[in-house]
Amino acid sequence: MELTTNHFLFLSAALFIVGMMGVLTRRNILVVLMCVEMMVAAVAITFVAFSNETQTVNGQVFVLFALAIAAAESAVGLAIVVALSRRGKAPDVNEMQALRD
């Protein structure tokens, strides 16, 4: 069996779907944030796999940016969770409805 790019794409799709299941089903907001990070990592694998196949480096550069943006987004998300927890809210996505109301 020879290793082609399709193998890596399968892996990336599977990881993305696992992450998506986590985001949709879990109730603890920290686990939801973790699953979002997992989805970003899965997309990163796709980018690097294609960058390997087409022999360009631009895919890897984009992964660099995606990593930076994901880091910033998780920092702000966690700060929100900490601030809400200090105000007495449980880390539960069903309870966090302040913006909705």
Binding site: A13, L33, E37, A44, I45, A70, A71, V76, A79, V82
Partner: protein, 243 residues
């Protein structure tokens, strides 16, 4: 079976097991460790795909910083109020699992029937070797074609840092901006005026009233566990000065 294939399957298995552990673990700490395992295996996959720089970067940035942050917050959040496990009822859970599998099969079909791209890119392995390696290649492309994106990314990171600080330590910012706050003192030497000026009632910029504890109306005060008269100078007791 060449070594490549074996490595790929080991790493892929590790990644997916870590991912499933993240989603399925009861304890959020176990979820975080599952994600850690997943990320390390993803770094291995990056090395297989020829980008060792991204592999090391993934470990330093993603596991070494972002995941540590998530772990800290998991530790700091009060474990009494942890929510129940899943959002939905059991039937919906299984249906969502089924739909996920169906989606995976669809994407799989799309992957199999795609027309593979040819190696048309300019950055062939020979070019990368002549540039000096993977880092130098990424550096050359990053600072020439994507220089503007780099500056914007740095701006985004800066905004992220400022946002996190503003959301995370509002009291300290409030104090620096001149608002007052009460302190709980387990002992104060004589001479401190226990009445602090009236402070603001709410503490965060979001101005949501606290539900877990009562914020007292009116002037804030210092809560002292001993009355001020019980503090003596060192060596001085109620019976007189002790040598």
């Amino acid at each position: 079976m060449s070594w490549d294939v074996i490595f790929f399957f080991v790493l892929a298995a590790g990644t997916l097991v870590g991912g499933i552990a993240t989603v399925a673990a009861e304890n959020p700490v176990h979820s975080a460790v599952g994600l850690l395992v997943s990320f390390i295996n993803i770094a291995g996959i990056f090395v297989m795909l020829g980008s060792e720089f991204l592999a090391v970067l993934q470990i330093i940035v993603y596991t070494g910083a972002v995941l540590v942050l998530i772990l800290f917050v998991v530790m700091l959040i009060d474990p009494e109020n942890l929510p129940a496990f899943y959002v939905a009822q059991p039937l919906q859970r299984y249906v969502s699992l089924l739909l996920g599998l169906v989606l995976l099969l669809e994407i799989g079909a799309a992957i199999i029937t795609r027309t593979a791209m040819e190696a048309i890119g300019p950055h062939s392995p020979a070019w990368i070797e002549s540039a000096g390696g993977n880092i130098q290649a990424i550096g050359q492309v990053l600072f020439s074609e994507y220089a503007l994106a780099l500056e914007i990314a740095s701006l985004v990171l800066g905004v992220g840092v400022i946002g996190a600080v503003v959301l995370g330590v509002p009291e300290r910012l409030g104090r620096m901006a001149g608002l007052e706050k009460a302190t709980i003192s387990l002992g104060h030497s004589r001479g401190l005026n226990p009445q602090l000026p009236a402070g603001h009632k709410f503490e965060t910029p979001m101005d949501i009233p606290a539900e877990r504890y009562d914020v007292p109306e009116g002037p804030r005060r210092v809560i002292m566990t001993k009355s001020a008269d019980e503090y003596k100078h060192p060596g001085e007791t109620a019976q007189g000065t002790r040598r």
